[in-house]
């Protein structure tokens, strides 16, 4: 669906952040983008939405070349949720904030209203319609940002570190929302440093490192690598994987919940 071919990029012409970046994203995937700080995780997503321009390479969406398409056009199929959600909000109420996208696309008033109602409902913030965004809690702001991206009716949603700064409850609820959106058919790209999330939530991990794509495969394959190999990429094993190694008979566990239930089952002899 979204195809990236031989992308090369550097903020300064002589210094590449990465090169030879090639991957394809299919509809409905749930992809974690990881790697150590400064490896270009955020940059690669900024390239996808057109906020940066690649010095080489091409990008295609459903076969159409979008390499030189401006972000305002790409917004119709890729939604972007920035790392600090409050930096991307600029309107006095949640409803008008969310309406900004469809309004810019020139939708009619009634259509805008329908879209806003629908996405506020989907993201569970219909009760906050008239609230002033900066006064919301962090988790709510994150939802407003997601609703704003969904209002563009895009098929792909990119989120940059959405769980940083959120407390445990907010993180859990956010992950549940993303899971639900993914089940509704939205492709999700999640930039994250959190190994637990990468292992338990995502179906695929795309790790940037050594100035290119250093790993592209399932989280299970990734976390079965040795600790040293992972460390080279700026990653660690999530606790569930680490602990499942202590009890080899359990096999790979993608989350603590899975570890616990396998363990209990085994100990109870089931």
């Amino acid at each position: 669906m979204l195809k990236v071919e031989n992308i090369r990029f550097g903020y300064v012409p002589s210094v590449d952040i990465f090169r030879d970046v090639t991957f394809t994203i299919e509809g409905g995937e749930y992809i974690a983008i990881g790697g150590r700080n400064g490896c270009g995780k955020t940059t690669i997503t900024r390239l996808l939405v057109g906020l940066e321009k690649a010095s080489e390479g091409r990008m295609y969406y459903n076969g159409t070349d979008i390499t030189s398409m401006p972000p305002s056009k790409r917004g119709q199929f890729i939604g972007y949720v920035f790392q600090q959600p409050d930096r991307q909000m600029f309107r006095p109420t949640v409803a008008t904030e969310v309406a900004f996208g469809p309004e810019s696309l020139g939708r009619s008033k009634s259509e805008v209203k329908r879209i806003v109602d629908e996405v506020l409902e989907r993201t569970g913030i219909a009760h906050l319609r008239e609230a002033y965004p900066p006064t919301l809690r962090r988790g709510e702001k994150q939802r407003v940002a997601i609703a704003s991206a969904l209002a563009m009716q895009s098929k792909i949603l990119i989120l940059d570190e959405p769980t940083s700064g959120q407390d445990g409850k907010e993180t859990k609820e956010l992950l549940a929302l993303l899971r639900q959106l993914n089940q509704e058919g939205i492709t999700i790209l999640l930039i994250t440093h959190d190994m637990e999330i990468m292992a338990s939530e995502c179906s695929r991990a795309l790790i940037m490192g050594n100035q290119t794509v250093a790993f592209d495969g399932s989280p299970e394959e990734l976390f079965k690598k040795s600790t040293d190999e992972l460390q080279d990429l700026g990653l660690t094993k999530p606790p569930s994987v680490e602990l499942s190694l202590a009890v080899p008979s359990l096999g790979y566990c993608k989350s603590m919940d899975e570890l616990k239930s396998k363990l209990v089952a085994q100990l109870s002899g089931k």
């Binding site: 150590r36 700080n37 600090q84 809690r137 962090r138 570190e161 940083s164 700064g165 407390d167 445990g168 409850k169 993180t171 859990k172 440093h193 959190d194 637990e196 700026g234 606790p239 569930s240 680490e242 602990l243 202590a246 009890v247 989350s255 603590m256 570890l259 616990k260 363990l263 209990v264 100990l267 109870s268 002899g269 089931k270």
Partner: protein, 531 residues
């Protein structure tokens, strides 16, 4: 001597430097608005004048402060190379600022100030300040450069009036939302609150501690329900205390009470007393208290106010009049402590989030406080940055003997360093004990459980299912140990019972396991401690 339960202290809201910070930030805003301003046939509003008009309208500084604000505006214009004629600005901006202040004062007492409920003050002051400022500027230009009179009269003055009109239009656009925000937060100048005076009293703490919070209730200005309720909490020398709790439980307010900002900055009413090193906080000014306790605010970015890393660390020392050699020596020391050596001459805006956080800590440590308070230090750091930050803070606690109080909702990374944890719920302390006890309390009472590290939650869930470990799982290492123990116990049990396990008794194997673990021991150690 006073009974601590009977003490009441009220304070007006807002510190003494609001006019400084509002003007500073407004002028910074004016500078960037100018850079990106759209123009009508080359004429743009003068954003600098508009922004200082707003600052003056909001904070009503004295006339000499107003002149200073004008001077600052001029210096900023000169330094950002916006000024083609620097001397002109140095006179015209103070003139404009003074006009804005005088108009604001004059209009306060006028009848026709409002038309249909709409306040005309921002329009009038925006227009007149711009005309006066522009007038001074072009007159100087005309005189110094000997420009022809017709250019001055028919070229320059009309331009001044047009820009004045534009500013008359944009000043209310900036002022009205700002004014709304100020009145919503109770930040507009008002005289209906009182400040108590405790200086004549003898107030002694009931308990000896580094910080002792005794019988404290606290009400925010105009609030009828307390934000802090019957708080009794001590922080001892060398402690690493974590205060946690759900959003809005009052943990940040508690932290602000330790440094005197509650109620001396936030205003409101304090009952009971907070003591720092045995002295009542109501008998000390905030800067004096800050000599004992260093605070890194949640929005640490805004705490940084200078251009370079070196200046930031020198800032608090300069304010206290340290001499040059001491500043130099102390700076080098704290740069080493927080690991910023080599970055001294970097601009603050070029630092990463984690580095800025370290710098905020360094600048607080510079004046040698014995306690370091961090309010939600990790809320904008990634997991790596969080781990690194707590490594640093743990180090300061263990190697440098600094007492640490951390307010955080993310517990995972701080656990290895903390020796105590307090849980707050709805303004009260629900549990104050060692780390495993408080974590267990949270789990068992279903309070803020999502903040528990997943490893600890698994430990509790396994325990509930009947599988015990000797030590609570606070880290991967202790969890692995615990897992091996459980496995071992399981193996022993299998041996004792032989391989006689039949499908029939599988359903009650969970109960079967219980005698093998030392249940009473585990619960005796961790259980009742918080009661």
């Amino acid at each position: 001597m006073e009974r601590i339960q009977d003490l009441v202290y009220t304070h007006v809201q807002g510190g003494q430097f609001r006019w400084v910070t509002v003007s500073t930030l407004m002028l910074a805003l004016g500078t960037i608005l100018h850079l990106v301003s759209p123009s009508v046939a080359g004429v743009t509003p003068n954003w600098t004048i508009a922004t200082y008009c707003v600052a003056i309208l909001l904070t009503r500084p004295s006339l000499s402060q107003t002149l200073g604000i004008g001077l600052v505006a001029a210096l900023i214009n000169v330094l950002t190379s916006k000024s083609a004629f620097p001397y002109g600005n140095l006179l015209s901006e103070p003139g404009g600022a003074l006009t804005a202040a005088l108009v604001t004062r004059a209009m306060l007492s006028m009848k026709f100030r409002k038309i249909g409920g709409f306040d005309l003050t921002p329009i009038v002051s925006g227009f007149l300040a711009t005309v006066v400022s522009g007038g001074i500027f072009v007159t100087l230009l005309w005189q110094v450069l000997g420009l022809p009179n017709n250019v001055y009269m028919y070229g320059m003055w009309p331009l001044v009036l047009i820009v004045g009109a534009l500013n008359g239009a944009i000043t209310p656009i900036l002022y009205i939302p700002a004014q709304r925000l100020f009145s919503k937060r109770g930040m507009l100048p008002s005289a209906d609150q009182l400040t108590s005076d405790h200086s004549h009293m003898t107030i002694l703490p009931e308990r000896q501690a580094k910080i002792s919070i005794e019988h404290v209730n606290y009400y925010h200005p105009k609030a009828t329900t307390p934000s802090l309720e019957n708080i009794n909490l001590d922080v001892h020398d060398g402690d690493f205390l974590v205060v946690t709790g759900p959003a809005g439980c009052g943990k940040s307010t508690l932290c602000m009470a330790m440094v005197g900002a509650v109620p001396k900055f936030y205003g409101g009413r304090l009952e009971g007393m907070v003591f720092v090193d045995g002295k009542a906080t109501t008998q000390m000014e905030i800067p004096e208290l800050a000599n004992h306790i260093g605070v890194v605010l949640a929005d640490y970015d805004t705490q940084l106010v200078t251009m370079t890393v070196r200046e930031e660390v020198a800032f608090a020392m300069e304010n206290r009049g340290y001499d040059r050699e001491t500043i130099k020596a102390r700076s080098e020391e704290v740069f080493k402590q927080v690991g910023l050596v080599g970055l001294e001459d970097r601009k603050i805006t070029s630092l990463s989030g984690g580095q800025r956080q370290r710098l905020a800590i360094a600048s607080v440590l510079a004046t040698n406080p014995t306690v370091l308070v961090l309010d939600e230090p990790t809320s904008s750091l990634d997991p790596d940055g969080t781990a690194e930050l707590y490594r640093l803070v743990g180090d300061l606690n263990q190697k440098h003997g600094i007492t640490v109080v951390v307010i955080d909702h993310d517990l995972h990374a701080v656990l290895p360093y903390a020796n105590r944890m307090a849980l707050m719920v709805d303004g009260s302390i629900a549990c104050d004990a060692d780390v495993p006890t408080t974590l267990r309390y949270m789990y068992e009472h279903n309070i803020h459980v999502d903040a528990l590290p997943s490893v600890f939650t698994t430990y509790m869930e396994l325990e509930q299912a009947g599988f015990h470990s000797d030590e609570p799982w606070l880290s991967i290492e202790s969890a692995i140990k615990g897992l091996h123990q459980i496995e071992m116990a399981h193996a022993i049990q299998n041996e004792v019972h032989g391989e006689s396990k039949s499908p029939a008794n599988q359903s009650n194997t969970v109960e079967n396991k219980q005698p093998i673990q030392r249940v009473d021991d585990v619960q005796g150690k961790d259980g009742g401690a918080h009661a």
